[in-house]
Amino acid sequence: MRRFRSLSVRTKLVAIALAGTLVPLSTAIAFVATNDIRSFRGELERSAALMAEVASEYSAAELAFNNPEESRRTLAKLEHLPEFEYAALYDLSGALFAGHRLAALAPAVVIPPRIEARPVAEVAVFEHHLLAFHPVEHRRARFGTLVLRTTTEPLEARVRTYLWAVLAAALGAVALSVGLAAALQRVIAQPLGNLTEAARSIASGGDYSVRAGRVSEDEIGMLAEAFNTMVAEVDRRQHEAQEAVRVRDDFLSVASHELRTPLTALKLRLQMLSAKLGRGGAEIEAEQVRQNIEVTLRHLQRLEKLVAGLLDVTRITAGKLELERTELDLSALAKEVAARFEDEAAKAGSSLRFEAAASVIGCWDAFRLDQVITNLLSNALKYGAGRPVNLRVEATGETARLTVVDRGIGIPSGQLSRIFERFERVAPARRYGGLGLGLYISQQIVAAHGGVIRAESHEGTGATFVVELPRAARSPEACGPGAPEAAEEAPPSGGGR
């Protein structure tokens, strides 16, 4: 079997065709030949038995009236049988009564002078001859026994000729099948060879544009198609991987820039302060120190936010975003966040309008939703171009909906699908700071709540972000006041938020 496996497909196909021909052919030949040879032999036995019967019929009176001469004449008529060697009549005591033999054909054969009495007709088969015995009877009276000996050599010769003919036919059939298989194996072996060639050229040249030609609709055709699909997929993934590396590189450069900007400002501010204090501190007033410290704190806050965002991304990536659900009024939370943005809105020149249902109660993580609203409002003000920003909270049945609408620069429609991806940002990094993580984190938080976030926008006409949250947790009993959701929550870790 191992040796067979190591053969080429061509050789295997030919071998299979050969086996497919040989096995049924040899079975059929063995069956037919056995039958034929048996029937040849049976024919000879039957004809010998019949001749013995007819001759014995004629010999009754000769035995009865003791006329061996007439008997010999009768027996002599049998010599025209092709296989005849001798015919003999024996009386009831088993002694030879009359016999006739063809001495020319079988000089070594002698007629035995006595035989054992045989009560019934029978044919005994020997290596090269048959003996047919037949009782000589007339009207139920027995007079003796007739023996006819015929040679089986013509039969054997006939069987030999027959077997040679059969063998020749079988060899012809095998040769034909091998020839056909050798011609037809190309149909299978050639496309396989082409496929191998294509795979080899991809492996050595790295050219993923190579495709295997599909020549048939069968399994090999399907294999070629699967191969092409695979190559296309590998090609696509390679591009994706390259793109991911590029995005990460971009992000790293943005992130380092983003982290460095407040650090530089901080450093300058502290150096200046230190210099002033170093000269005795007389020139510096307490008010100035307080202002400097405020600015320093702002920069630190910004740094903290950036680092927190990076930590969140790390946590989300590791699948460790944990929710601490409590019974929460989304309207109140949104109002609180909006209040926090009043100063910033004023600075940006936008008016922040807040509309909300009286109370929209659900089972959510207050800290995380605060993050989402903060992020959306911050984006709206950042890209709002000083125009009004709307924040709306409403409840529709089982769902709470929070909408943030700005009328700023908007998002090009081709980019809408990308804004929730990690490290993606649509606006140019130089003009609008930030790591581009906000929407990704928001989207992950909403998804962890079982909700959806989506954006609608046209370039230049502002953007609308809609967050929809299911109001009930999947297991309602988990949402007691302060009770963590058992299924999703580990005990509060104490730090980190």
Partner: protein, 163 residues
Amino acid sequence: MPPSLGESKLKAEFIDRFARFTEWPSSAPDGSAQPFVIGVLGRTPVAPQLEELARRRRILERPVEVRRLTQIDEMQRCHVVWISGEWRERLTEVVEQAKEREILTVADTEGFGERGVMLNIARSGRMLSFEINVEAVRNSRLRLSSQLFRLGRPVGGRRASGR
């Protein structure tokens, strides 16, 4: 040359064999309990041999009865009638009677075959053979096996009827 004892015995055997190759259409079937009757007309050394044979053997699986006949009328119930040479003078009469009654006529006298006896045993060389009067057999209601015609030397025929 007077016939030897062995020869008479052989002739008795011949009668047995003739019977086996002959069919009597109106007779009881083979194996019947009714005796198979052999009549003997005239004196002949074959008679005691036939009687001996009748004692130890059955013909056509029937018991054998041998009757010594003195009158032609006595042939009536016989299956086979042996005609001795003594009846040479009245042979025609015997043959005519036999023809009417399904009787197989057998003899061993030279010339009897030609004169209408169906089977006439004759000597050929050292062996016994028989003549068969085909015409006589054909005119009777008996059916003789073709093997008898093949073995027997045909006599009589047109020449016999021409007399």
